[in-house]
Symmetry: C2
């Protein structure tokens, strides 16, 4: 066996925004001598420099200064693909460990960067890239490494969860909930990356690598936006003893991992499920394994301090245990492009200009696709010219459902495109 | 920095009961070559030997055979203090890593055994000692190592949780729920260790060491039995929008960790809390940190396979990362004997022989102790000779409450001892 021991790490920080400031504060408030912040690299140093960091900390706007300095670990917090990918590569090539919170970088370049880290006998750590302060990467990689994981289901995007729980509990529209999220700093001026599912897809592909050993391009994963949701959907969901969450899910269909199911998007979840209990900007991940069954991790998925906890925990692990140059998937991740769609019951909400024959037309299309109707729900008190109602459907593959919905959308009684959600 | 790498581990298993069999199965069903089961040490080998293990596995009833064999890690699953303590010590002294599920051993001898492991540059790992398959030890030690943990609250005993949730959802008596737990193998013939809190105290003292750096003797921790609970308590709890769980809690009162609060026992928890959602034999741990706020870990707290996942995950971590001879608390755990009692609102249930003046007598004692009454609840339909009713009380220290309850218990209208529970 090989023995590792504690040693103090010199840390260089790249990026000094909200998370960067929190990381600097957490490091300087520790009293165990494990971490020394020696460099901060940021644009516009003169304006960004703060007086609460020790005077020995060296400020620079040139990343190259970190490569030549006696730094053990570089913390990358600038986000985006470039120059982050270039800088992370050069740090690894210089033999420095890298800790990053950059989910897009890890999701799209993770394979190559992890291989580079192995090659240079150093480590790329990324606990902060998924689930903020929740130690889910370490949980999957080490904590339940003895299990054989089958599926990973989670709420991975705090912005969507804030919007959806405001719609659920505040009875407000999507637009109003989004505005509130923007005012509180939970959503960007252009919220596409969050609400259309790109952010969650990147995180899900990282979890699929660590937990299931799969190499999945985020763009391979089907994503559905939460934009078409209306607060009436929460009323109907409640009648079905459910609520709506943006759910990210990846699951193996067979032992070889050649058949997988993966999806990001709004879904009905039972009120009794742990997903329904996650409100506001919190995150949750539920893993299912052959031996340990369900294990659940939850906490604050975003924000400066929780994200900084993840970064600093990675640094502490490096100091205590040394860099681990094993790849995250010891034998390399398995590339797979066979992404099957999961069969599930569906919730189909229509808004129609009411007239006789609507159910008959709808039933005809569904029956042609071999989809069975479970129930028809209609809340009173809506105008006949824009009447919402819901049909629940027995389990069928998502692709079958999609084709049926396309045909239904073409029927002339619709005054809005139909909304179809899986029911978990 | 020091670099660790993967190497295959030879594993010797001591104890071949339910968990031992599961561990053997998980190891032999892995295909990554990291773990080799080379020895099984058990009493009565002739009777216990199984045909599904590879024929190379060496069976023995002499622990000494493992010390001289080329084994890297010894898995101790015999439970109890002796001979487990002696065997674990000798394995560590022989430079072997030890993985154990033995909570009493780690709780009462953990400090000495961890020091011994350090001294011999090897590791004592004990993920399986708390929370079955939930990776809570690793979560506290590594996953949120960057945070400053303030409190740890959990449901740590699956037997109590099974009994309490049967009383809650099945409306059955304590005795009936216990019998059911015994029939299903969730409770021992003598259930004292579980229902009186010893098991949870041991686990809480382990979590206090790993998460808060405190050295707490389990016997220092106040424990209250769940035996006096009646199903009427669940009726009253529900009227208070709460339910009842065996809650284990340890919290720092100050930064130095000299003032701590610690308690194991039944408590009212709000229905909206994550603790209320934990049913059956599941476990949960919720940590609160200065930076990351609440982080939650939940899953299957007992059973052969979930416990085996924890054992095998410890072995995989040893194989991947090498033994870590840092103590769990890098600078040694802080010994503390100052265990303060937490102030909280209380639930006080009395069963009385009804007559005028009872509330006046009760109110007199409470007022003498400066305890304010919040509300008096009485469900209809009970005989006057054994009338249950509940008084909720505003926040006061547990010790004050205890003295008041002693006086109340001496009043002549009681037909059962009063039951007092904290409300979280």
């Amino acid at each position: 066996m090989v023995w590792a021991f504690c040693m103090a790490l010199n840390v260089g920080l790249v990026g000094f925004g909200t998370v960067g400031k929190s990381v600097a504060r957490l490091i300087t408030e520790r009293h165990d001598g494990l971490l020394h912040l020696t460099h901060v690299c940021s644009r516009d140093v003169a304006r960004r420099r703060v007086d609460w960091l020790p005077s020995e900390v060296c400020w620079t706007d040139r990343f190259e200064d970190l490569l030549t300095a006696p730094i053990d670990a570089v913390v990358e917090l600038i986000g985006g693909l470039e120059p982050a990918a270039d800088w992370v590569s050069r740090a690894l090539e210089a033999g420095k460990a890298v800790v990053t919170a950059n989910k897009q970088l890890v999701a799209t370049r993770g394979g190559a960067l992890l291989a580079l880290a192995c090659q240079h006998r150093t480590e790329l750590a990324f606990e902060a890239a998924v689930g903020g302060g929740i130690p889910i990467i370490r949980g999957l990689r080490d904590g339940i490494a003895g299990d054989r994981i089958r599926s990973i289901v989670g709420i991975l995007n705090g912005t969507c969860n804030f919007i959806l729980t405001r719609m659920e509990h505040g009875g407000v529209s999507y637009a109003a909930a989004l505005r509130e999220a923007q005012e509180r700093g939970y959503a960007e001026a252009d919220p596409s990356e969050d609400v259309d599912g790109d952010d969650a897809r990147a995180k899900l592909s990282i979890l699929a690598r660590v937990g299931l050993g799969l190499e999945l391009e985020p763009s391979q994963l089907r994503a559905q936006s939460i934009r078409p949701l209306d607060h009436v959907d929460f009323t109907y969901a409640r009648r079905l003893e459910s609520t709506i969450r943006q759910v990210s899910r990846v699951a193996l269909r067979d032992n070889a991992g050649e058949q997988i199911e993966a999806r990001v998007g709004p879904a009905l979840v039972p009120l009794s499920s742990p997903l329904a209990a996650i409100v506001g900007s919190r995150n949750i991940v539920v893993t299912t394994g052959d031996y340990g069954s369900e294990t659940l991790f939850a906490g604050h998925g975003a924000g400066g301090n929780p994200t900084a906890v993840a970064v600093v925990s990675d640094l502490v692990a490096l100091a205590r245990h040394g860099a681990r140059w094993v790849d995250v998937c010891p034998h390399g991740a398995k590339r797979t492009s066979i992404v099957s769609d999961a069969p599930s019951p569906h919730y189909l909400r229509l808004v129609v200009n009411d007239r006789p024959g609507i159910i008959a037309g709808l039933a005809g299309v569904l029956s042609a696709h071999d989809i069975n109707i479970d129930a028809v729900l209609q809340e009173p008190g809506n105008p006949k010219s824009a009447l919402p109602f819901v049909v629940t459907l027995e389990s069928c593959p998502e692709s079958t459902m999609r084709r049926a919905v396309e045909e239904i959308a073409a029927l002339d009684f619709n005054v809005q495109p139909p909304l179809c959600l899986p029911m978990l």
